[in-house]
Amino acid sequence: MIVGTRRNRMNHRVIHALNALVIVGTGAVLLLPNFSVGQTPATATKAAASAPVQAAKPAAPATAAAKPAAIPRTPDGKPDLTGYWTNATYTPLERAANVTKQFFTEQEFETNTRNAAVRDEQQTTPGTTGDVHYDFTQFGLDKSQNTFAHDLRTAMITDPPDGRVPAQTPEAQKRSRDRAAAYKVPGAAYDSVQTISISSRCVIYNPPPGPPMLPQGYNGNYQIIQSPNYVMILFEQIGDIRIIPLDGRSAPPPTVRPWMGFSRGHWDGDTLVVETTNFSDRPEGRPRQLSGISDNFKLIERFKRIDDKTINYEFTVNDPETFVKPWIVNMPFTKINGPIFEPACHEGNYGMLDTMKGAREQDKKK
């Protein structure tokens, strides 16, 4: 018959995984000062339980002479990024105000993760707007039931050292407001197709899957396919795809501004460097922090495969017309099992039609 209660089952899973982490991570606490932004993360939950060697990897840099892990390579010798990955993490983009250090200890990470799993299970109050939803845990969508990063960083932002997004210039703040006003569609929210979010319309996920590739609430999974001349990144939600040429081509004219900008890549040693320009000026097409970027903004991403199960992902935001100083984000992409189910967003998007029908019923009552 059906399994036990959700709470029992999930806590069992998380505790099991965390126990594995604690066992293998004991020595890693002592190594924290050696952790750089390129520290070796490991996988928690399912993967940790099944492959505890992953969680043991933070202990690897114990000596300066430790050799880098062997990584898969393509026939032409490049690091092979091909595979299925997730950037799911409990690490926040910005460091919390009450945290002053760069890294948590293994024990703190364990506690934080356990608490987060408990929060995942919290129930809403019947009769409240927030209760009008299916249960994420019932459908296995919360992070604690899926693979997420074992990342001891206290913030994804590794520079500036305070782990916070730098202040925006007054000009950038004005740009952000002007764009929001320019693209605001008249009418109440959910009253028409035009006032519904681009995600609900299956145009592109919001925030988009990149660039930059910030973690998503759920299903933050990617498939990377690599060839000598292109890298393709498929994002599970809505099926958004990035196609990144590696052939040194020029960017299109500034009038061409796709939702995800225009990306071009090249190899810098073992690191894939991707430059993106020509960003759309539509505010919903980017993470909120980048709503005020200038027309000339260039985003730099770096993908570096550091072992069989991990890609270090880094991006740099350097836009003097927008931010008072540059900022850098680091996070692991952790290997997951594929395949990715075909998203086909409109296949069952009954919600759009139902919302419109509901709005018309409300109109009749006015």
Binding site: V3, L93, Q122, D131, T137, N219, P287, G348, K357
Partner: protein, 137 residues
């Protein structure tokens, strides 16, 4: 997790910067918070499609008349990775669903909680190998 936590986390995330969108669309715009329902019916079809799955159930009314309801559930992606298929919950399984009625007035609802007749919650995530509901019970 439900939306209360999601809202809370979104609020935090607005401060932190990472804004998770926990749902593909706004459920409170599609379904009426003032029309909670408890539906008991037998599973007729489970559409495991994106962006959200839909359970079709036959519900017998007080007058004995059977009507079909569509109940919205979670995205199938994570379930498929766990080995759940549309056969995992067999046709004919009795489901008791706490739900909210669609604003359109149609026989549609969002299932905030799915329960089996034995009182156990229909827990799909990460437990596919253990799910073997007894049809019709």
């Amino acid at each position: 997790m439900r939306l209360r936590t999601a809202v809370a986390i979104t609020g935090i995330s607005l401060l932190l910067g990472s804004v998770p969108l926990w749902a593909h669309h706004a459920f409170a715009a599609e379904f009426d918070v003032n029309q909670p329902l408890k539906l008991t019916g037998t599973l007729k079809k489970w559409e495991m499609i994106n962006p959200h799955s839909w359970f079709h159930i036959d519900v017998k009314g007080p007058d004995g008349k059977v009507s079909e309801w569509m109940v919205e559930g979670g995205s199938p992606n994570a379930l498929l990775r766990e080995g759940v298929t549309k056969e995992t919950v067999p046709i004919g399984t009795v489901l008791i669903i706490d739900a909210y009625h669609a604003k359109s007035g149609e026989n549609k609802a969002v299932g905030r909680d799915f329960t089996l007749p034995n009182g156990k919650r229909l827990f799909l995530g990460g437990s596919a190998q253990n799910i073997a509901p007894e049809p019709g019970k």
